[in-house]
Amino acid sequence: MKEKKIFWINGTIVALTGVALARLLAPQLSGVFNKLTLVCGYLLALTGIIVLAYACRPANLKPE
């Protein structure tokens, strides 16, 4: 788990950035910017979760 620390940290940061966009920044904006920030936030949070899951792939796995 230690050697894949970078995935755990990056995944968490990306996901939390998504949360901040969707829950903190989006309500401050209006119109199309609100929707755009909201969607970006949700997508970023989902991406963060996928990055977290990638932390569990073996380091020596050959690319498909």
Partner: protein, 401 residues
């Protein structure tokens, strides 16, 4: 004998003929439907865990309408529409299923108990071994949820009702229950019944969809099982804790469901044997049993004969069909992206409905090629399906509530 009033010999028959002919016809049809569900459940054609209690409840509640006063009729099973605190207190003392309905249905507790149980029998390792593939397929498998929403609005449902029925496309019973309770409380009974009825039908219907969309040659593609990653318990626990916290931060309104599901996963991975036995046995099966029974009892003709029910029936089947098609299309995208190394049948498992769709996919693949095993990948797609459905339900609830 001429003095005997046969209609009043059994009160259920007297109330049957005294009411509105439409309701009388509905009651007779629902009694027949209930009996049919019991037999189809017992035969294994439909999901027996839900269908047997549901069918019994449906048949009995429609036969058991009686005169509660000189002018009003009802049952002593349940009163789903009561909201006045004084009347609710009376109902709690009279109706035998009212306590379970009031204290577990109305607040979504039963959905959370089901998710706890599902969490305990779910292995998140399947999603972690191929996260991108699982998520991609699951996003495609939300096609029904996404397209049913505008269609339902176009047909004439409100935004909230449209969102509640479109979540049926996510094929996740507790999620439909939860969303409809929050967004469309008046329609929650018919929407939930439509959802559970159709979820049982996926077992019988999806194999035909797979055979229709995927030729036998592609159905038999073997998946690479040699390079499957071994994921440690601690990694699964860390992933579950971080993911559930992030999802709760993002969708606080769906937080009870996220917490329940991931708590179940963490308890399983922690190896707390007593809790695992408790959650996967009494909690999961107890909640499933009472869910089925209450859904059946809620199918009383005067409650369910809502003019919108036919619309909901059509939209529900449309949502599930489109999600199945979307899932298989997602499977095809990965098939072409991996140059033929991905079995497109796995796509149907992205519809969620864990573990039914994964089992259906494996069964169909094995019919085409006895040596092909896709179950780990299919389960990964199914778990991803739970997460994507929860996210879409959370978005609906956050925006529309």
């Amino acid at each position: 004998m001429s003095g005997v009033d046969f209609l009043n010999l059994f009160q259920g028959i007297a109330t049957m003929v005294s009411g509105d002919p439409l309701i009388t016809t509905g009651r007779i049809m629902l009694i027949i439907a209930g009996i049919t569900l019991v037999f189809l459940g017992a035969k294994g054609t439909l999901e027996p865990l839900i269908m047997i209690p549901m069918g019994m409840g449906m048949a009995c509640v429609n036969a058991a309408v009686l005169y509660l006063s000189a002018t009003t009729t009802g049952t002593i099973f349940i009163d789903p529409m009561v909201s006045d605190p004084a009347k609710l207190f009376d109902a709690l003392q009279i109706n035998f299923l009212q306590p379970i309905y009031t204290f577990t249905f109305s607040n979504g507790l039963i959905a959370c108990l089901l998710f706890l149980g599902i969490g305990v029998i779910t292995d998140v390792g399947y999603i972690m071994m191929a996260p991108f593939k699982g998520m991609l397929v699951a996003i495609f498998a939300e096609l029904g949820t996404i397209l049913t929403f505008p269609l339902a609005v176009w047909i004439g449902l409100t935004y909230k009702e449209a969102a509640a029925i479109s979540v049926v496309g996510g094929a996740d019973g507790p999620m439909v229950l939860f969303t409809s309770l929050i967004l469309a409380k008046d329609l929650f009974v018919p929407i939930t019944i439509v959802a559970y009825l159709y979820l049982s039908l996926t077992y019988g219907g999806y194999p035909y969809l797979i055979r229709l969309m995927v030729p036998k040659r592609l159905r038999g593609i073997k998946m690479d099982l040699k390079n499957i990653t071994k994921i440690s318990r601690m990694e699964k626990i860390t992933f579950s804790v971080i993911t559930s916290t992030i999802l709760c931060l993002l969708f606080p309104v769906a937080a009870p469901l996220f917490m329940s599901f991931f708590l179940g996963v963490i308890i399983k991975e922690s190896g707390v044997k007593r809790f695992v036995e408790f959650l996967e046995g009494p909690v999961l099966y107890g909640a499933t049993f009472f869910l089925g029974l209450l859904l059946g009892v809620l199918c009383e003709a005067s409650t369910i004969l809502n003019p919108k029910v036919m619309t909901l029936l059509i939209l529900g089947i449309f949502a599930l069909l489109l999600s199945g098609i979307g899932g298989i299309l997602g499977g095809y995208v990965l098939y072409f992206a991996t140059k033929g190394k991905f079995n497109p049948v796995i796509g149907i498992a992205g519809v969620s409905c864990i573990p039914t769709t994964a089992k259906v996919a494996q069964k169909e693949v094995q019919k085409a090629n006895r040596n092909a095993i896709i179950l780990p990948y299919a389960l990964g797609a199914s778990v991803s399906g739970i997460i994507t459905t929860a996210i879409i339900a959370g978005i609906f609830v956050t925006i529309l509530k």
